[in-house]
Symmetry: C2
Subunit: 305 residues, 2 copies
């Protein structure tokens, strides 16, 4: 059983109701309170999984916050509040604890939100930092479920090679997400965390079982991925498609309906990297040929059946 | 450095503003949104710290939720939404995963709230379940900061010996908290998690540096603590004062102002277990004598300076 199957099971297990317009399985939940809607998400970062013991702790704190802000961004939400749960390894030096807090605070400030609570525990195990982010909608919610055949596919930034440092240092695309949510031509969006192919497959599944063609020449490749590939373009492209931890936004938009000028999108982000098709599956298009792709990227393998 | 000092430092580190009526250092945060207030808290439960590897996982799930609901109860808040972050040990059997989810769901149902999101990761370490609870205020917020000299002290239930099973099976005092929040005679409240003495000291500190006298004959002792003390009343009393994980509510109320009849409080809870005094410190009163007490209970010791 993989993480994806498990989370799909969770959505059935914890069934929602009318007060829950968007529940388990999207980047964040949208809940309807008597006085308005909130957008909620909660992701941990774990030593040995999301960062190594050698990672500077201010970057770990930053990542812990920004992973969650990226999820809010993908919903078109604006962050307001953060809660931080720290499970610290026994004996963690005060200076390193302070670095962690510095990173948490700096990322909160950059995201214009505030740490308002949480908890701390000490154990004989790895560092676990779990951040909860609570925000509000700038307009409508951008879910994964709205893609339609013919939509063009877009990403806010380059992909691949995040392990070289980007995975700790990325900036969540908050401005882009809030801007995209204001435009009806945008049909679906999500945060690219597990890798473009895997996340795209999730989006297409959530949109009723569609497929997509990616344009090989249009997929933007991060410099770190090119560098690591040492001139092997195919290898760099595979890294862009599968590495993950990019934390850019992937969105789909109505074919032929350009988004208005201005706003935070780069010219590159406005150019399609592919298109949605009715036939389920993923394809890579280059030089007139169409090659089948397998969804691959990062998944937590869960043991047992 | 202990957990208490660390959390006090955090309150300064992550300074609040007007939109934050209650920030770091209380049972939960109260945040003011344009459309209303929310009450937020987030506590982890960690294998080896909050439960042993032998604990049935449905009880671990239950505790993970109820620790947080107890924090909301202590604010006089009503729970609405839960987020669950699971860091699972690699190889955890599917049946045990299912038990954990059963416990989470059962506790959510009993608390009349709903799991709407979260995340799952797998690692080579202990099970960490971090629940975030989001609620709304039934009336005003019950903080730790409102105690006044002369107030009587009360608890919603008996204390001590929680390790024998209560720490996994307690029910959060949600009805009591919401009821207490409706009565102006109630000045301060908190969840007893670290032990009566330690938590009382926290409440008195938050209320501007007050003290308290506890009435030895009035402190209610849980049967498990009596049984474990084998007839040694002094030992049973010490357990009630210091064991912790009771998750009853401790509150202070204006002297001479009885709460209205009816509601969820037991007759026992209406009888004072002590009183607040102006002089800082803790005392135990019995048979006309006053004996100084040291705040003691459960604290996470943090290494380093």
């Amino acid at each position: 059983m993989d993480e994806r199957t498990f989370v799909q099971g969770l959505a059935r297990w914890f069934a929602g109701d009318r007060r829950l317009p968007v529940g388990i399985g999207d980047d964040a939940a949208v809940v309807r309170n008597p006085t308005g809607s909130s957008v909620l998400c909660c992701d941990p970062v774990v030593e040995g999984v999301h960062f190594t013991a050698a990672a500077p702790l201010h970057l770990v704190g930053r990542k812990a916050v920004n992973r969650n802000l990226s999820d809010l961004a993908a919903m078109g939400a604006v962050p307001d509040w953060l809660l931080v749960s720290l499970v610290l390894p026994r004996g963690l030096a005060a200076a390193r604890r302070r670095q962690l807090l510095q990173g948490l605070r700096a990322a909160a400030r950059q995201g214009r939100c505030q740490v308002v609570g949480g908890d701390v525990a000490v154990h004989d195990g790895p560092l676990v930092v779990t951040v909860t982010a609570i925000g509000h909608l700038a307009g409508r919610a951008l879910t994964r479920a709205g893609a339609r055949p013919g939509d063009t596919l877009h990403v806010t930034g380059p992909l691949g090679g995040a392990a070289a440092g980007h995975h700790l240092r990325f900036r969540p695309a908050l401005r882009e997400g809030a801007w995209l949510a204001r435009h009806g031509a945008v049909h679906a969006a999500m945060d690219v965390s597990d890798g473009l192919l895997l996340d795209l497959a999730t989006l297409l599944h959530a949109s009723g079982g569609l497929g997509a063609e990616l344009f090989a020449d249009a997929v933007p490749i991060r410099t770190a991925a090119r560098r690591r590939a040492r001139g092997d373009h195919e290898r760099a492209l595979r890294a862009a498609l599968g590495d993950g931890e990019d934390h850019v936004l992937l969105w789909t938009q109505a074919h032929g309906r350009a988004l208005p000028a201005g706003g935070p999108l780069s010219a590159r982000a406005r150019r399609p990297i592919g298109r949605v098709v009715a036939e389920p599956g993923l394809w890579l298009c280059r030089q007139g040929r169409r090659e089948r792709l397998q969804p691959q990227g990062y998944q937590h393998a869960l043991a047992g059946r």
